[in-house]
Point group: C2
DNA sequence: TTATTTGCAAACCTTTTGCAAGTGA
DNA sequence: TCACTTGCAAAAGGTTTGCAAATAA
């Protein structure tokens, strides 16, 4: 999706909530859609500090990230490292994640059969499904070389 | 699994690590296996304060929960409510969770086909799978009655 | 003009940790 | 005995919030 379109949608979203398009919000939006990486609030804050532009405080970064998430511009992912990870959504198909326990690397994958089975499992319990997330954890090729084979005692919740 | 057997395993586990069986650890173990509910550290701490027995500090609750998790006695679940949720493992088959966004209720389910597809997805990316968790989020039957149908803007990461 | 935003620093919440006193083996 | 544990309170780490000054519309 072209960036102008994203900005337009954001403006509509703000208007619909009687919110203003400030230079900080605009900078956040631009920066977030300038990368395809997964990032944390702190990461984004640090990018913004290091790049030219109107200063943005940490508080505003958090507030705007929430806003973008509510607006469906961003999605969150808890990678189990104590901080929320964000990724942008528009023009980015739904996918699940594989997390490397060694280096923190995040890979994406998608399996339509799994998706369908999830819908059925939910129905069977009488729930209306709103969202889901599936996280696989293990060691990537690089970390498999560094790391001894994982022992049962290293395993976390499955 | 009978409780005596669980205690025996815990003693072995401690012995193997040169750790001692204190009254606090024993109380924690007993309490945790006395329920089939999912609970948080704070919840457990509050149970212990309200019930007769040797006092157990918050710090010890956290330390012992980590110990029990490492030993494979407990599994953790991040239900997305800001705190870790625990459940006991022994005699409890692996399962995934469905979380109610309305009331926080947690249901369990299991699908062997999904499990197999996860293994394959992991292999395809060159990862060695250690663990996984799948969380479906939606509204349970009770909350569907209370709650208006969910709108797209309510949706969180999928 | 004026309701909304921002930045700052303090507050929050869950979890972890340093340290001196206590205790199981 | 003595290494391991506990409790306390302080610290940590990510995130949220109150408030006065700044700003978009």
């Amino acid at each position: 999706m072209q960036h102008a379109k994203v900005v337009e949608r954001f403006e509509e979203f703000l208007k619909g909530r009687n919110l203003k398009l400030t230079s900080q919000r605009r900078r956040l939006l631009d920066r977030v859609f300038a990368t395809h990486e997964h990032f944390s609030a702190e990461q984004l804050y640090s990018w913004l500090r290091g790049e030219p532009g109107d200063p943005v405080s940490r508080a505003t970064v958090y507030r705007t990230l929430s806003l973008l998430t509510e607006g469906g511009f961003l999605a969150t992912l808890d990678a189990g490292r104590g901080e929320l990870i964000y990724e942008h959504v528009l023009g980015h198909e739904h996918h699940d994640h594989i997390l490397c326990l060694g280096c923190g690397r995040i890979e994406e994958f998608h399996d339509e059969v799994i998706e369908e089975l999830q819908r059925r499992a939910c129905e069977a319990k009488g729930f209306v499904l709103v969202s889901h997330d599936l996280r696989l954890r293990g060691y990537c090729k690089t970390c498999q070389r560094r790391q001894p084979a994982s022992k049962a005692s290293d395993r976390t919740a499955t």
